[in-house]
Symmetry: D2
Subunit: 132 residues, 4 copies
């Protein structure tokens, strides 16, 4: 049995829009923060990945919202590995606030060289973190 | 024959990440800006929609990236109506930079009342703008 | 003796610029977050202030930077009351990372009515939180 | 007689806060965008500066607000050179909307090497752009 990884976030004032709910783009910041925390929880600091000359880029994203988040609310972003390929991997995210589902997302990342060398096979430490 | 609506954007410094490309969340700001401009080009100011007590929220989003944008680059965001329902509508977006495709997106919006009254049938001016 | 209030932040990926340091505007988000946390630590939820029909706006800001912040770094934002007037108040902020000073700021806020009624005398709960 | 440089901006939806006005941090994005445009208008592309291994960082900022900006409003950001030193320079900004003053700002920038080499004398093309 594997416990699902969960990253806590708290909604900040500047993330709110005129409707009094979090503007859509900030969810992508939440997913990014949760992805980094997930990798780090699996023994790979995201900065270590970068020090080795690698980073990741999004190639596909889909999000389905069923509710909103409001200013000051604490929420959890769960992260699960959906797929690990040669040069890419996919994660599933779910945002929940007090047990209430807010949205789910599926993101496909490709590994790239920071020197502009393009797509790269997942380096061993990243592969290890994703299959931990 | 209908000309496709196109909204110009220029990449700003704060939208760049450590990799020297636009960070993913800013594309959602581009889509939002293009959506407003599209509606306005069809004779409905977005602020007029709000003055009437309505706004829109995202319920579904998917994006596929094939390239990146860099600082200072000028790009075009095209907008096409994919679907118009009772309380929701969907738009297709494509971002191109100098003829080079960068990403495509499909977004489903639901119309909501600003007073917290939830989902609403599309008001007539919005329906007219979307079916112009 | 009064302990200085301190709010912890962690630098997020999207706050980084092409130079590999936090882009200047995000410090204002840190100050805002620290201000809300400071008020809340003094027994006034920021959302309660809003529920009562009040909010605050910046009328003056100055910041002096002596260092930068990098991705993933944990820093502390200290908050001290500099002045409490009739319709305005001022806070002093300092950002430190691992004992290293990063920047200091002085911000003057004015209290406003959410209904557009303009400048207002500080409501009693806000005055109490600032003079606690 | 020198004409004052002016850069047009349009307020975007995600820059609005719950009060229905632009959240303070976005003004720093406006100043940054205007600074780049100002330098470019004086025959130095900001990206050329970076290609030569240089960038700028803020060491001091002060802003005074007298009004707000709302969604969709078009405003102008004027830029004037306040000072040109050896490793630093200062610019004065003013934001006006339809003739209405919104805020003024004074920003001191220091020139840095992109390779982490720290403070640098202003490279000749930048000095030329600032004294044009």
């Amino acid at each position: 049995m594997t416990a699902v990884f969960s990253h806590p976030i708290v909604v900040r004032y500047h993330e709110m829009d005129m409707q009094g709910v979090v503007f859509n783009m900030w969810y992508l910041a939440y997913f990014d923060e949760a992805m980094s925390a997930f990798i780090e929880a699996n023994d790979l600091a995201y900065t270590a990945l970068q020090d080795d000359g690698f980073d990741v880029q999004l190639v596909h994203l889909d999000v389905d919202w069923t509710a909103s988040l409001r200013f000051g609310e604490a929420a959890d972003v769960t992260v699960e590995v959906a797929n690990v390929g040669n040069t890419s991997f996919a994660l599933d995210f779910a945002v929940r606030q007090g047990g209430r589902p807010v949205c789910t997302a599926h993101i496909v990342y490709v590994c790239v060289a920071l020197d502009g060398g393009g797509k790269q096979p997942l380096p061993a430490p990243l592969r290890a973190a994703l299959t931990a």
